[in-house]
């Protein structure tokens, strides 16, 4: 199937909804992506024809719902090339996935003297849980530097791993501000050589690249459904079975136990052990549809489209007078954070909105990164989805020129 972005746009009902009388130019997919009809329909169909609680009923409707829920798990496993579907744990979002690891691995398996190594470019979701672990159990928090071009400083990474005291390296696979793609295979090799496990926050990466956890060799990988054209309320933690097997549960309740008495309860095997209570059944079905949708278009085609778009945007944005791009990584995805000399990001976002353009303004849940680059006031950010067109990029660039005049 050849990639026809204009045909693809028709799959997304919201894209034909005008904003302020102008066509919607949605450039905030990095915060959350829009949903194709296939996802909406799958959720509707689930609720209209195949809904019941899972794992609990001996009746057919419940079996159907259970099958659908477990089929979603299988689809996720294949999507990231996980060797075993039992390694896929459904969470609410990436944030919960990382917190799960911080609790169950961090407090249940790691020793308190083992450090966690993150980087300056992390999203708060991959900072705060480790700070909480540090404050609770003492595990030191180390922070790998980021170069001026917005890339991981690999020398610093090696230096901070050298003493063998790092238990876990937790890094974004792709930055939600700089667009930088982390050289994960090298990171994993380095970390493993120093006895550290690796968690990758794939919230952004999984949308833009074909991810193969087996090839990467990492220990944990997580992502969030709503950025991958799926519904809110569902995310994924993938972990090697040997790790999950050793981890105590995170939340307690139904479905995660084998037996319960007041004296003692015993835990179910993964993934059930980590899915307490009624899971996000309808949302798992929606995520499955999103993955099928992306697979049908094909990750290679999406990658190619985005690469062309990124090159185009680099040229166009560089031509906007007064615009400073944050991050100049070689390997980058369709996320562009920038400052426009005399326009504050919030004013800019309000202004562009009236032209139908949705961009984000602020620090994008990456306050330390903005501090690192001396941009405490935040940046404006345009981020692309598979439905983004070169024309939209042109329109953005033109609007930025006009906005600059407006505030001159």
């Amino acid at each position: 199937m050849s990639f026809d972005v204009h045909r693809i746009r028709q799959d997304f009902p919201i894209l034909s909804q005008p904003q302020h009388g102008k066509p919607l130019v949605f450039l905030d997919s990095g915060a959350s992506a829009q949903k194709p009809r296939a996802v909406i329909d799958a959720m509707t169909r689930c609720m209209e024809t195949a809904y019941a609680n899972v794992h609990r009923g001996a009746y057919r409707l419940s079996e159907v719902a259970t099958d659908a829920y477990e089929a979603a798990r299988g689809a996720v496993a294949r999507f990231i090339n996980a060797p075993d579907a039992r390694e896929v744990v459904f969470t609410r979002n990436s944030t919960e996935a990382i917190n799960l690891v911080a609790h169950s691995w961090g407090r249940g398996v790691m020793r308190p003297d083992q450090a966690v190594l993150i980087s300056e470019l992390e999203h708060h979701a991959n900072i705060v849980p480790w700070q909480m672990l540090r404050d609770d159990r003492g595990n030191p928090l180390r922070v790998c530097r980021v170069t001026d071009s917005g890339e991981l400083d690999m020398e610093d990474l090696a230096a901070k791993l050298a003493d063998g005291k790092v238990g876990l390296v937790a890094l974004a696979h792709m930055s939600n501000v700089l667009g930088t793609v982390t050289p994960v295979e090298r990171v994993v090799a380095l970390a493993h050589a120093h006895g550290a496990k690796v968690l990758l926050d794939g919230s952004q990466a999984v949308v833009h690249r074909r991810v193969d956890v087996a090839a990467i060799g990492c220990d944990f990988y997580c992502f969030t459904g709503h950025k991958l054209y799926g519904p809110t309320g569902i995310g994924v933690l993938w972990g090697k079975l040997e790790h999950l097997d050793r981890m105590p549960p995170f939340l307690g309740g139904g479905d995660m136990i084998e037996s319960v008495s007041f004296e003692k309860s015993t835990w179910a095997k993964p993934p059930a052990r980590f899915e307490a209570g009624t899971p996000a059944i309808i949302e798992a079905v929606g995520l499955h549809a999103a993955i099928d949708y992306v697979n049908a278009i094909g990750m290679p085609a999406i990658e190619a489209h985005e690469r062309a778009l990124v090159d185009h945007a680099m040229r166009k944005l560089s031509d906007v007078p007064g615009l400073t791009l944050l991050g100049r990584a070689q390997d980058r995805g369709g996320v562009f954070a920038f400052a426009l000399d005399n326009a504050h990001p919030h004013d800019l976002s309000t202004l562009l909105d009236r032209a139908g353009i949705c961009i984000r303004a602020g620090r994008h849940c990456a306050e330390p990164l903005h501090t690192r680059f001396g941009l405490e006031q935040g940046t404006a950010r345009a981020s692309f989805g598979l439905y983004t067109t070169p024309e939209e990029v042109d329109y953005l660039a033109g609007a930025l020129v006009k906005a600059r005049e407006f505030f001159a």
Binding site: G21, H346, T350, R354, A355, G378, A403
Partner: protein, 159 residues
């Protein structure tokens, strides 16, 4: 198409006086001999300001100044505020703040006492912000910070 048309009715929010105060905020300085200072934060967007008040012996606001960073709306609002509260008593300034928050949130000010009318007139250019819910905080941050300074608190947040 001019920037004006291109961005729709944006002049409702960004009136000339706002853009002007946003670009060149008045009283944008540190008062070294302030009687009271406080810091205001809008953590979501990174806006931050420090407010300085100097009082007269009989308890009026002798001088008000601020420093900080933020969008045009928050800078203009702080700038206009420092201008309007000078000479007021703390009670008057607080009443003005309450009236202003009504204005920013609804575009109207039913609670405005006649005695506030003059001061409020200077603030009305900011009334357009009520159509931009996510920006109301930008306009009210300065007033939150003022309340904190008057109450002797060191910090305010517009969350």
């Amino acid at each position: 198409m001019s920037g004006n048309d291109f961005f729709g009715d944006l002049r409702d929010l960004y009136q000339e006086v706002i853009l002007d105060h946003g670009r060149k905020p008045r009283n944008f300085r540190r008062l070294e001999d302030a009687d009271s200072t406080s810091r205001g934060d809008n953590p979501m967007c990174g806006d931050r300001m420090e407010l300085f008040l100097k009082m007269t012996p009989d308890g009026h606001i002798a001088d008000a100044a601020f420093q900080g960073r933020g969008c045009a709306v928050s800078m203009a609002s702080a700038s206009l505020m420092t201008e309007t509260v000078k000479g007021k008593t703390p009670q008057e300034a607080q009443a003005l703040g309450t009236a202003f928050r009504d204005l920013a949130m609804t575009g109207q000010c039913p609670t405005c006492a006649a005695s506030l009318e003059d001061a409020m007139e200077r603030l009305t250019p900011l009334s357009g912000v009520h159509e931009f819910p996510s920006r109301v905080k930008c306009a009210t941050l300065a007033w939150h910070t003022l309340n904190a300074a008057l109450a002797g608190a060191k910090e305010a947040s517009s969350e």
